[in-house]
Structure formats: C-alpha cells, structure tokens
C-alpha cells in the first residue's frame, strides 16, 4: 500500500543525488510541482529521463540538477526551443549535459519493456538514420521470420514520478485523459512517487481511466495544481499563455535565474 506523504517528504525519502529519475506525462499531467521540489531540495547529478522534456526539465537543467538527459523530443510544444536545454548542450551552462537521444517510438518501446521487466524493447525503427550511431540501439533478427528489427534497452529508472487526478486513502491512483507513458513509468521504476490533485474516499469510474493499484506505488502526495502550467483533465486547462511566455523568461540566463528564485526557490511545497 502506498504511503500518503507530503510532497517534500516524498521527494526527500525517494530521490537521491545521482539517481536516474523520470518525470513523465505526455503534455498532460506533467509533474511540475514535484520537479520544483527536486530543485528546492537541491538534488544533483541526476540522469533525467523523459520523452518530451518540457518546461519542467528546462528548469531542472537550467538549475544544474542534471548530469544527463535521456529523451526523444526536447522543445516547447507549439512555441519553439527549450532555451535552458539548448544553453546546456551548446555552451555547457550551468554545466555540461550528456544526452542520450531516441525516437518517440524507441522511448515508448523502452518504457513498455521496463514495465514488463524485460531487458529490451523491440520495434520497427531507427531505420537508416544518423540517430543509430548516436544512441543505444542494436539490430536483432526475428527468430521466427528473419526480419531485422531494432532493440532498445529497457528504461529502469531509480525513481518514477507522475501526476494524476486523484487517489483514494489506500493510495490507489486514478488518471484519465491522455495517459501517455505514466503507467509504464511507475511499473518500470524501482521507486515511485505520484502527486495527485486530491485524495477521495472512493474512486468512482471515469471513462478511459487507468488505475494504478496502491501496492505498486511507494508514495502519494497531494499537490493541487501540481501539473501547472500543464493540465489535469477535468480540473484545469493547459496554460498555453505560460508556455508562450516561458520563451522570453528562459531565453536569458539572468531572467531565468531571477524567475526561478522568485517562483520556485522562494515558494513552499504543497
């Protein structure tokens, strides 16, 4: 059964310096509040895994929390670049960032393999492009048909962190809408933390919802608005204006640092 904890305690107990940590959520339900708590607690030397590094990874990278990034698309959706990610890769600021780059299909297969406790995922992919020489992918032969396929090493992070709409008092977690790779992230990770909008007495059914039983989750923390500026379907909308505004905030190192000091370091965890 998952333990119900505060966000600060959950991050303190589950995430260590040097860990491989995945904060997932495909556009929807991105665990921003948990990312901010990682920054406030000063976690360092992290390997960050995420298909679509978003504003929250831009913030973690810009604050120097990451040693390495494993990803497949690192941009500000519909807006443009992630400037802190670019600055780290192009200029090593505030520190050099090692990258391991995949395609979306490769990352998705690596997550599914991790959830299944298989050593690798298999796909029709990485076909005749320059990514092959730059990432961890191998060619394997199908033992039944002889078809050449791509194999990607399974994702097995130390900690998986996701945000969901709600949990019950036993720590069973329910999420719906675009569910991305969140189930796989929790199942593939050695430890897991789920932030939720609210804790309810009973999880009545919702169309398309998935439920993660409390016994596969280590800790649940209430963090209302914990996905903002991403969104929580049925609770609040994506703050598209903020994603647009982030472009100017993040473009300049000083503006970025001042923004982080005011809005993240100076804030208190839920």
């Amino acid at each position: 059964m998952a333990e119900i904890v505060t966000l600060a305690d959950g991050v303190r107990e589950l995430v260590r310096d040097g860990d491989t940590v995945a904060l997932e959520g495909f556009t929807h339900l991105i665990p921003h509040a948990a990312g901010h708590e990682l920054i406030r607690q000063g976690r360092r030397e992290l390997t960050l895994v995420r298909m679509t590094p978003d504003v929250v990874y831009d913030q973690l990278i810009g604050m120097g929390a990451a040693r390495k990034l494993v990803f497949s698309w690192g941009g500000n959706p519909g807006v443009g670049s992630l400037h802190r990610l670019r600055d780290a890769v192009e200029h090593g600021w505030p520190r050099p960032l090692e990258i391991e780059e995949h395609s979306h299909a490769g990352m998705a297969a690596a997550w599914a393999a991790g959830a299944a406790s298989l050593p690798f995922g298999v796909l029709r992919g990485y076909d005749d492009n320059d990514l092959v020489a730059r990432t961890t992918v191998k060619t394997i032969t199908c033992p039944f048909t002889g078809e050449q396929l791509a194999a990607v090493r399974a994702h097995r992070p130390d900690v998986g962190i996701i945000h969901a709409q709600r949990a019950d008092r036993e720590g069973n977690v329910q999420l719906w809408g675009i569910t991305g790779v969140q189930k796989e992230t929790v199942l593939a990770s050695a430890r897991s933390l789920v932030t939720v909008e609210e804790i309810v007495d009973e999880l009545d059914p919702r169309p398309g919802a998935i439920v993660l039983p409390g016994w596969v989750v280590d800790a649940v923390a209430v963090a209302p608005g914990g996905a903002r500026p991403s969104y929580a379907h049925g609770y609040y909308d994506r703050d598209n204006d903020f994603y647009v505004a982030w472009d100017a905030i993040s473009r300049d190192r000083n503006t970025f640092t001042e923004w982080m000091e005011r809005h993240v370091l100076g804030a208190v965890a839920a």
Binding site: T27, V89, A105, A109, I178, G180, V181, Y231
Partner: protein, 232 residues
Amino acid sequence: MSPEYSADEMMAVEAARRLTSDNVCFVGIGLPSTAANLARRTHAPGCVLVYESGTIGAKPTRLPLSIGDGELAETADAVVSVPEMFAYWLQSGRIDVGFLGAAQIDRHGNLNSTVIGSYDAPKVRLPGAGGAPEIATSVENVFVMLRQTRRAFVEQLDFKSSRGDRVRVVVTDLGILEPRDGELTLTRVHPGVGVDDVRAATGWELAVAPDLSRTEPPTVAELAALRELEAA
C-alpha cells in the same frame, strides 16, 4: 478576381487539398495540424486525425497549441497510451499519411530536425526527431511542409533524422516538389512565383518538371474555412 491570402495560407490550403476522407493521418503541430483540420472541415470530413499523444479521431473545434491539448482527448474516438500509439497504430501500418516538418531537407526527402552544425558541438541544438523516424518508415505517404530557403533546402544535411523514400510531396511557400526518378523535382509554382525564385531558394541544382504547372490559388470558401478555424 481571387481574394488576398498569405504564403502560409497557400501552404495550408494546398496541403489540405491532398487529403481525402479515406485517409488516416498522423498530424504534427503547427501548419500540418492546420492543413489536416482544414481538410476535415472542407472536402474531407471523414479524414481521421491521429495525434501522437494518443488521440485517435480527434475533432478539435480550434487549433491546438500542443499535440496534447485537452480538446483532442475530449473529441477523440479513442485515447490510447503512447506505447500503444507507436506500436499498435503507427508501426502496424494502420496510418497511411504522415505530415513532417524539419529544419533541413535534401533532394531525396531526407530530413534533419536534430542539430545544425556537428552533433557533438552543435551550432543550434534543435528539439530532435520525436516521432519522425518511425513516421517516415511506417506510413505509406509522407507529406512534408516547409518554407523554402537555401538554409532549409540543402545539398548536404547536417544530420539525417529520418529517411525520405516515402516522401510523396513537399509543400512549400513557393510551390510543390514531388519525387521524380528519386529526386525532389519542382512540379508546381504558386501564383506569383517564378521558377527562378524557387531555384534561388534551393541549395541544390533544382530539377524542374517538363509539365510544370501553376497552383490554383485558395478559393473564397477555402480561405473562409481556414480563417474561421484560426480565429476559433
């Protein structure tokens, strides 16, 4: 007398014209999403829009900023997980059209969305390939939308993010390129554009089709539908 329109509007309209109600279309954000939604609202109401966030058959009333906006899930026929999207739906060949954009394209339709400069010390680190590598090899018909400049239409890619052998058409702000004998060839120019303009915006020796024609300008109805979509 045709109405006034912008180069982006010409691109969106021309790309939309290539979709039919029989297509299942993998849609990226930006111009491709505009074109696909325009097609669905005009001549191709049955066209199925698939966004990589896992929304199949999305019918948004306004253009989404991201591929995961809530309205896509609310209006979809089905919402599936991301591993399912790429394994069951894309790699299985159930999607027949995929739109791609890029920072660079070469004469064979290979695309770069990864880096400008060298990979280890990039001049510009771009967002990366995302869904493109497997879209480019899983759908039968790849449609590319890209503004035509010498910086984008290059002799040699800085990085090959996806392969180009299924690229059927490249819609630019100047005209249309289609593969002829394995090489992207100018087959149409948009109204008011000359062949020399397109050559000047292409970084390789551009082949021009002997049957080169001119794109029909957007109709009043197409423009009205497009502007209504963008204003929503």
